[in-house]
């Protein structure tokens, strides 16, 4: 490692369970963050600054004013600009040594595998159920570790999937929720800093996994409620033998039509 890197990451390397080798592992690990919105904002800031060698950012949206109460990687000068490009600009200034690639596209069944393939770890920072199933299935098919989180109102949830023979999102949620039961930030609202916290927790998982310190929330679910000030970590079921994507005889062997599967006429973009 260069002296410059040793300096820049010195506060991290000083930790008794994190040394030069751990930092080298980060420098040799790549992370793809899907969604540069509320969750993505802090996830990207901390992954870009922690010393990952390469990060990728996927987002097809542009920055809007209503995003700015929570999407703090952007700012007023970026309104109208691609969120992925805006986030990339912030990272280039924060850590010019981090290779940062952008994908200004909507992740679909057609492009997901090729976008995900070059990365070691995937972070689902999207805001809709179709995207979550799509990303889960694409991570299983390409054998990538997936750190999934979501936030709404004053609550957040997080889990790590496809890690060390642990479960995937479908193992826990084989059937999608009925379309009428799902609400989003533009309907139910969200306290800006709650996705901020969940994005930070996603970054912790990525760093620990890359450094070889182990994931905290594989086969576990973190549930945060800012209204009650409560944080629960609960044990979930293990990998399911009959899972339709990661089980012994998977019925899904290539990506499917996720809007159809989720009974949604149209899924919105990840943001």
């Amino acid at each position: 490692m260069s002296k410059e890197d040793l300096d820049r990451y010195s506060r991290q390397i000083l930790m008794n369970n994190f040394n030069k080798d751990s930092q080298l592992k980060l420098l040799n690990t790549s992370v793809l963050i899907i969604g540069a919105g509320g969750l993505g904002s802090t996830a990207i800031l901390y992954l870009g600054s922690a010393g990952f060698g390469r990060i990728g950012i996927v987002d097809n949206d542009v920055v809007e004013e209503t995003n700015l109460h929570r999407q703090v990687i952007h700012d007023e000068t970026k309104i109208g600009l691609s969120k992925a490009v805006s986030a990339q600009q912030t990272i280039k200034k924060l850590n010019s040594k981090c290779e940062c690639y952008v994908y200004k596209l909507l992740l679909t069944s057609e492009n997901a595998l090729s976008v995900i393939k070059p990365y070691d770890i995937v972070i689902d920072a999207t805001d809709n159920v179709c995207a979550t199933y799509l990303i889960n299935d694409a991570c299983i098919l390409t054998n990538k570790i997936l750190i999934q989180a979501s936030a709404l109102r004053m609550e957040g949830q997080l889990s790590v999937f496809n890690y060390n023979n642990g479960p995937c999102y479908r193992c826990l949620n084989p059937i999608p929720p009925p379309a009428g039961t799902v609400t989003k930030c533009n309907v139910s609202g969200v306290l800006g800093v709650v996705p901020g916290i969940m994005g930070c927790f996603q970054a912790v998982e990525a760093i620990k996994i890359a450094a070889g310190l182990g994931a905290n929330y594989s086969q576990k679910l973190l549930i945060y409620d800012a209204e009650l000030g409560k944080v629960r970590v609960v044990k979930t079921r293990p990998k399911q033998e009959n899972c339709s994507i990661c089980g012994k005889n998977p019925s899904i062997t290539s990506l499917i039509d996720y809007e159809d599967f989720c009974n949604m006429k149209k899924c919105t973009n990840p943001n």
Binding site: D127, E155, Q157
Partner: protein, 97 residues
Amino acid sequence: MGKNITLSFGGGMEILFNNTKEREIELPDSVVNIKDLIAYMKDELLQERPELFVLNDSVRPGIIVLINNADWEIEGGLEYELEDDDEITFISTLHGG
């Protein structure tokens, strides 16, 4: 005497149940397992729109059920027999970011 359990809600499920995230209830003797509990909650506690809570004698897809802070699947699911002081949690999966 019926068992006393704590019900806890999150992810929007609380809106269906009197907007309370936690409450203690005394169960009638007829409620033995989780399946009975779901039917009892639907008939006696639910304020509105049962389709947001139940589907075919179970909870609808998209609801995380916890028995004493563990996934109900590893505790026996619908057949789990309730005990005094159990905490049963119903949390909707979130989709937002």
